[in-house]
């Protein structure tokens, strides 16, 4: 069953949903849109395609406490202070970001499961939102992701002609929709047709986007060494600043570091995102295994396009959200890498 509500009444829906559990949405603050908890008067931006940071933040936050240790004399006590939160809703997630959860799941939920991540995944109910106006930096289609209807998430939504359409997909989605049910109207055949028309329009735009037909087929296990040893990594990475922008805005980047912070009378152990672009990434007693930016840069793309798929049934660790295309300070990105190293089938695109 699909439901609908006028878009101007969405604030009522948000308020009702937020009364049940914390609700995260794309909210504009200081000119930038990020997933933020809803509060009265929040500038919800369902028209903004990509948030700066991706929706992965909700499950894999940039920093989180794991555990603390406190010393009193010779006594050391362990203080459990990890915050895995309470049930929450997450609305306005695009198909690309929703797909990223599967990519992260395969890392964090593989046995032994990451309990912090797992708890948040179980706590979260994801409502996806179709991309009304995809942009030229989007290339989800090249990764087999449908911007018009997400295959992930607990409920799907569309916006067309002043109506917000909501369709639960999982039992969790059903339960969440039930909490806002008094505000919703059941859809009829005409509504189904409107949503179908919306999907068709989105598909037509996707077909016109410049990177939708990007061909990644050369990136597979049997070409690993050939790609790894390609001399063109040097020129591709030549201008790389070694900052962490691409990794920190990426929905699928999953590397982290665990560090101890001295609190004076103890230790706070925390987890923090890490970036393979950084000079101290995976630093060991023998040093950082990748001494130059060429190697670090190569690592990032080899991981996304070759190593991860080799270990995960051919699934690329990229969802085509285009954030790196928009945010890299020197405009180097995965599309440029894929076109350069991906074989001549990409030359005409």
């Amino acid at each position: 069953m699909m439901y609908k509500i006028r878009t101007e009444r969405l604030p009522e829906l948000f308020a009702l949903a937020a009364a049940d559990k914390a609700l995260y949405l794309p909210v504009e603050q200081g000119g930038q849109v990020e997933f933020r908890p809803w509060s009265e008067g929040a500038a919800v931006r369902f028209d903004a395609l990509n948030t700066v940071r991706s929706a992965k933040d909700l499950f894999f936050p940039q920093t989180e406490n794991l555990v603390a240790f406190r010393t009193e004399g010779k006594k050391i006590s362990i203080i459990e202070n990890a915050d895995t939160g309470a049930p929450f809703g997450l609305m306005g997630v695009r198909s690309c970001d929703a797909k990223s959860f599967e990519i992260l799941d395969r890392v964090f939920l593989a046995e032994p499961a990451d309990t912090y991540y797992k708890a948040r995944r179980e706590n979260g109910t994801v409502v996806t939102l179709a991309c009304h106006e995809p942009e030229e930096t989007c290339f989800c289609a090249a990764l087999g992701i449908d911007a018009a209807e997400s295959a992930d998430g607990d409920a799907a939504s569309w916006i067309r002609d002043g109506w917000f359409y909501l369709k639960p997909v999982t039992a969790k989605g059903e339960a969440s929709v039930e909490t806002v049910r008094p505000l919703l109207t059941e859809c009829d055949g005409a509504d189904d047709a409107a949503v179908e028309a919306e999907k068709k329009d989105i598909g037509a735009v996707i077909g016109q986007l410049p990177f939708s037909k990007l061909d990644l087929s050369r990136f597979r296990g049997e070409n690993m060494l050939e790609i790894f040893n390609d001399p063109r990594w040097k020129e591709l990475s030549a201008a790389c600043l070694g900052c962490g922008t691409c990794t920190y805005v990426c929905p699928t980047c999953q590397c982290y570091d665990i560090k101890d912070f001295k609190t004076g009378d103890g230790i706070q152990r925390f987890r923090t995102w890490d970036s393979c672009m950084y000079s101290d990434f995976t630093k060991m007693s023998a040093g950082q295994p990748r001494l130059t930016q060429v190697e670090r840069f190569r690592q990032r793309f080899m991981h996304k396009l070759v190593y991860y798929p080799m270990n995960n049934d051919g699934l690329y660790s990229c969802v085509g959200c285009g954030r790196c295309l928009r945010k890299c300070p020197i405009s180097m990105n995965i599309v440029k890498v894929a076109k350069t190293l991906g074989g001549e089938q990409n030359d005409e695109q």
Partner: protein, 326 residues
């Protein structure tokens, strides 16, 4: 710009041919019309371009290029030439290893400002005189160049280069300055401390500690940054709390004070559009007031007010009772 580009390419080819240079650092065309990447070119100059989207300041790349064999041709826009001089003053670039051409600039375009006008699904971007013509999957649009320039271009340091072995300039120079560069700093100064704190909390709380501002900054040229040193306990890969969000940027601004040429790269690359240059401009304004007007990078070898000593130096801040002005 097309004419200027032609002249640069022709001159660069001559410099390659006569052996003056072995490589060139310039901008390379991207997959779209707006995503130019800084790149090092050989004599074929494959993919080399110069247009409104070549905002990146190339000076800092010369630090590494000074360490390799042969001479590098660098293209400097007027504001980049200040960074170039400052790096020479700090002995970070080997002048003998560089051949610099000062090139014309009529203001650089900001794709984010174009997008902020509601432009989506860009297929092509063309510069036509004072306008930018956009073809998108949702229709076409023309916008005025003057509406979509990088922030720094609205307070241009001027059309004259302060460094260069030769220059390739347009006959008609365009001045894009519309505002006093201290306008926003003055506004911040006029705020109460609480208001100012709120302003900076609002801005800095968006920081994701990607370090793009630091890594792009020509004044941030330390071989090993204190924030990358795990042995010191000052390394940080993320903003774990608000203290860090504030302090990283404030410490960085202090460190580049007196050396920052106000090139604006920090704000250009910030993925969160935090107006970081305002911190630097505040320091520049304070230095101007306390020590007399000073422009870092104006000439090679100048003594910065904070690294020089004079008996009549102001003693600002903590010791106003000793005659400090503030």
């Amino acid at each position: 710009m097309q004419e200027i580009f032609g002249r640069i390419k022709k001159r660069a080819a001559e410099l390659f041919a006569d052996g003056t240079v072995t490589r060139m650092v310039g901008w390379q065309k991207g997959e779209s019309d707006y995503d130019k990447t800084p790149a090092v070119f050989g004599p074929d100059m494959k993919g080399f371009v110069y247009d409104g989207f070549c905002g990146a300041n190339l000076s800092k790349y010369l630090i590494n290029l000074s360490k390799v064999e042969g001479r590098t041709l660098v293209l400097l826009k007027p504001c980049d030439s200040y960074s170039f001089n400052q790096l020479l003053t700090e002995h970070r670039i080997d002048r003998d290893k560089v051949y610099a051409i000062g090139i014309d600039c009529n203001g650089k375009l900001d794709i984010n400002k174009i997008r902020a006008l509601g432009v989506k699904g860009i297929r092509s971007v063309a510069e036509e005189g004072d306008e930018v013509v956009l073809d998108t999957v949702y229709g076409s649009k023309r916008v005025k160049r003057s509406e979509v320039l990088l922030d720094r271009c609205y307070c241009c340091k001027g059309k004259d280069h302060v460094a260069g072995d030769e220059f390739i300039l347009a006959e008609k120079r365009v001045d894009t300055t519309t505002t006093d560069r201290f306008e926003l700093v003055k506004k911040l100064e006029a705020m109460t401390p609480d208001e100012r704190y709120e302003f900076w909390r609002g801005e800095l709380s968006r920081c994701i500690r990607c370090n793009a501002c630091r890594n792009v900054c020509p004044a941030c040229s330390c071989v090993k940054c204190v924030f990358d040193n795990p042995a010191l306990g000052t390394d940080s890969k993320a903003n774990s709390d608000t203290f860090e969000e504030n302090m990283f940027h404030i410490i960085r601004a202090f460190h580049v004070a007196g050396r920052c040429t106000d090139c604006g790269e920090c704000s250009r690359v910030c993925p969160q559009h935090i107006p970081l240059h305002l911190l630097n401009r505040k320091f520049i304004r304070d230095i101007d007031e306390l020590y007399g007007e000073y422009q870092a990078g104006a000439e090679v070898g100048q003594r910065g007010p904070l690294t020089d000593f004079a008996k009549n130096d102001a003693e600002p801040g903590a010791t106003p009772d000793k005659g400090g002005k503030k």
